[in-house]
Symmetry: C2
Subunit: 351 residues, 2 copies
DNA sequence: CTGAAAGCGCTTACAG
DNA sequence: CTGAAAGCGCTTACAG
C-alpha cells in the first residue's frame, strides 16, 4: 500500500483568496459553486481574485468533506485491442460530460494484474467501476477488492462464480449467440452445408455464447458439425494463423468457417494466403466485431458490427444511472449486433 | 465547476479499526504504511481487523494531509486511433507500476474540448500531465489551464506559440523528418524519380516535419517535386481516399507516393482499388506508424515503425522522473523510427 | 448576505 | 512502542 508519491508545490487555496478579498473562506466557497447567496459585487471581486492568483479547485478536498466522488474507474483487459480502445473512448466521453473523471486501468488479460489494478483504483474512491474482466477472473476476488458497496458494471464477459446476492452487479453484454446465429444462417442461405466454427477460447463467456449460437443455428438447419469442425485458438490473429493448420489439414474440409472474431478470421486468411488458397473462394468465412480492417481486407470480410464506442457510452450511462440507486437489483442489458455483409468473403461453395 | 457528484455510502475508516482493536488511529496508520515501529502483536491484530472489516484505504485523504499526489493525467487527441491507444496502454503500464493511477482524458482533436478536459483533470490534482495535443492548441491556453507549476510532457506534437521561459515542458517526439527521409531514399534506391508526398495536414507538427524530411531527401537526390505532388488530407483513411483523386487525376502521375501515415496510405490504396489500379504495381507507396493493418494489407505496406506502446512507457518514465526535479530545464527527447520494408508495396517503377 | 466553528479521513510531529 | 492534538483544503450548518 505505501508507495512513492510526489510532493506538491505550494498552491493557492481558498484562504489566500479570502484574505486578499477581505472575506471569509465560506464566502469564497459559495462563489466557487455559483451560489446565489453572494452579493454581486463580492462575487465579482472574488472571481477576479481567483483568476488573478490562478486558483485551482481542489476537488479531492471537496469530495472528502462532502463525502462525494467525481471519478469512475474503467478497467479493460487490453487497451491495445481497438475494440476496447473504442469502448474506452466512449466511456470517457460520457463520463467526462457528466463532470466525472475516468481512472484508467489495463490488465493485459491477467487476473493477477487485474486484482492489483482494482486494489489501487478503489483507493482513489471512484463512484463506480466499469470492468471488462480478464479471462478467468473470479467473482469472489473482484468483490474482495471492491467491497460489497461499489457500483459495478460488467462489460462483455461474465466473471467466474456467482454474484453474491447482496451485491449484484449490472451487466452489458453483446448478443453473441444471436449474432453468430445470423452469420451462420447467412452462410447456410448461400448454400454452405459443411461449416466450421473457428477460433476463440471455448470456455470464455463470449466463446461459449458464440459456439452455442453456431451450434443452435446448425441444428435448426439440421446440419451436422463433425468434431473436427470446432477449432480453438487464442482470440488474436497470430495464434489463429497457427491454429488454422488444424482446420485446413482436415481430409474433408469445411466449405465455410464462422470465425470467433475478425482478428481470428484475418489470421485464418493469412494462413490460407500462405498456402496459396484464396480466402472467400476456397473457404468462405465470417468474422465478428467489424474492426476497420474487416472492410479493408481482401476479400472484404462479412462480419458482425458491435459499435464499441457506442457500447462504451452506454456502459457509462448505465453506471452513472446506478450511482443514484445503489440498492436496486442488478440489471442485465444485452445489445444486438448487426450483420455486415461483404459478399466477397462468403460466396456460395465452389462445387 | 460545480457538477453533479454521487454520494458515498458509509465506509470503514481508521477510527473503526482503531476502536475495534483498542488502539489509536495513529497506530493503525503506522500499520497501514508498514512502519517498523509497531509491535508485532499489535500489527497482526490490526491487520486482521482491517481484513475483517473490509477496510479500504482513502488515498485522497492521505494525499491531502501529506500534500502528495498519486495520479498522472493522460490526455490524448484520439483514443480510437490505435497509435494513441497503444501509447495509452504503455503509459498506464508504467504509471500503474509506480503506484500511481492514470486519469484519462480524450479530446477528439478539439482544442475546445481539450481545454475543458485539462480544467477538469487538473482539479484532481495529478502529479503531472502527459499531453498529446489536439491540432491547433495553443501554449498560452494550456498553461492557463494547468498553471505554471504542473510538470508537463508533450508527446508527438508541439503546441502553437512559445513555452514561457518560467515553465518549460518536456517533449517526446518522433524523428519524423529522418523517418520520412528513409522511406523516400528507399523509393529512390528502387529507381523511382517522380515521387509525391501524400496526405496529412501541412501545418501540423508532424505534417511539417514529414514534408520537410521528404523534400530534403528529394533535394539530396537532386529530384524535382512538381507542385501537384504535394497533396493534403485529414490524417485518416476516409479523407485520404477522397483526396486521392487529386493525385490520381494528374496528367503526369508520380510512380510512387510517400504517405503521411498508414491510414492515409490505406485510403489511397482503397481509392486505387476502386479505379482498378493495383497498389504497388501501378503506384508504389510507403506509410508511417506500422499499424497492424500495414502488414496485413495486400500488398503489405512498407512503413516506419514507431513502437507506440514503448513510446508510452518512455513518456511515463520521463514524466515520473521530472516529478522529483520540477525546476530543472525542459528536456527534449527525439526517438528514431525504423523503416519496415515490405517489398510488395514498392517495386521499381513499371517502365 | 457574511463569518466562526466543526469535520471529512488521513498523517505528522511531539510527548510519554 | 503508543496516544493526543493539530492540520491538509475544502463545505456545511448555524448565527448574526
Amino acid at each position: 500500500m505505501p508507495l512513492s508519491h510526489a510532493p506538491l508545490r505550494r498552491k493557492v487555496t481558498l484562504i489566500d483568496i479570502a484574505a486578499a478579498c477581505g472575506v471569509s473562506r465560506a464566502t469564497v466557497s459559495l462563489v466557487l459553486r455559483g451560489s446565489p447567496l453572494v452579493n454581486r459585487d463580492t462575487r465579482a471581486r472574488v472571481q477576479a481574485e481567483l483568476q488573478r492568483q490562478g486558483y485551482i479547485y481542489n476537488r479531492a478536498a471537496a469530495n472528502l468533506r462532502r463525502r462525494t466522488t467525481s471519478s469512475i474507474a474503467l478497467v479493460v483487459n487490453d487497451l491495445g485491442n481497438p475494440f476496447f480502445a473504442e469502448f474506452a473512448a466512449g466511456v470517457d466521453e460520457v463520463v467526462g460530460a457528466a463532470g466525472f473523471v475516468t481512472l484508467l486501468g489495463s490488465t493485459g488479460e491477467s487476473a493477477e494484474r487485474q486484482q492489483a489494478v482494482l486494489g489501487s483504483l478503489v483507493e482513489h474512491n471512484p463512484g463506480g467501476v466499469i470492468l471488462s474482466p480478464a479471462e478467468g477472473s473470479e467473482a469472489a476476488r473482484v468483490m474482495d477488492a471492491l467491497g460489497p458497496q461499489m457500483p459495478l458494471l460488467m462489460f462483455n464477459r461474465e466473471l467466474e462464480g456467482e454474484a453474491p446476492a447482496s451485491a449484484p452487479w449490472d451487466t452489458l453484454m453483446l448478443d453473441n449467440a444471436r449474432g453468430i446465429g445470423l452469420a451462420t444462417e447467412h452462410l447456410i442461405a448461400r448454400g454452405h452445408r459443411r461449416i466450421a466454427f473457428f477460433g476463440g477460447h471455448a470456455r470464455s463467456t463470449p466463446g461459449q455464447q458464440r459456439r452455442a449460437g453456431f451450434l443452435a443455428a446448425m441444428k435448426r438447419a439440421k446440419l451436422e458439425v463433425p468434431s473436427g469442425f470446432l477449432v480453438e485458438s487464442a482470440p488474436n490473429r497470430l495464434d489463429a494463423a497457427r491454429a488454422s493448420a488444424v482446420l485446413l489439414d482436415l481430409r474433408t474440409r469445411p466449405t465455410a468457417a464462422v470465425c470467433y472474431n475478425d482478428a481470428v478470421a484475418l489470421g485464418l486468411m493469412l494462413a490460407m494466403g500462405r498456402r496459396g488458397m484464396r480466402p472467400g473462394r476456397d473457404l468462405a468465412l465470417t468474422g465478428f466485431d467489424d474492426i476497420d480492417e474487416a472492410a479493408l481486407a481482401s476479400p472484404g470480410l462479412t462480419t458482425l458490427a458491435t459499435a464499441p464506442r457506442e457500447r462504451g457510452r452506454q456502459a457509462a450511462r448505465l453506471l452513472l444511472a446506478r450511482l443514484g440507486h445503489p440498492h436496486e437489483p442488478g440489471q442485465r442489458t444485452t445489445v444486438p449486433v448487426e450483420l455486415v455483409i461483404r459478399e466477397s468473403s462468403c460466396p456460395p461453395p465452389a462445387a
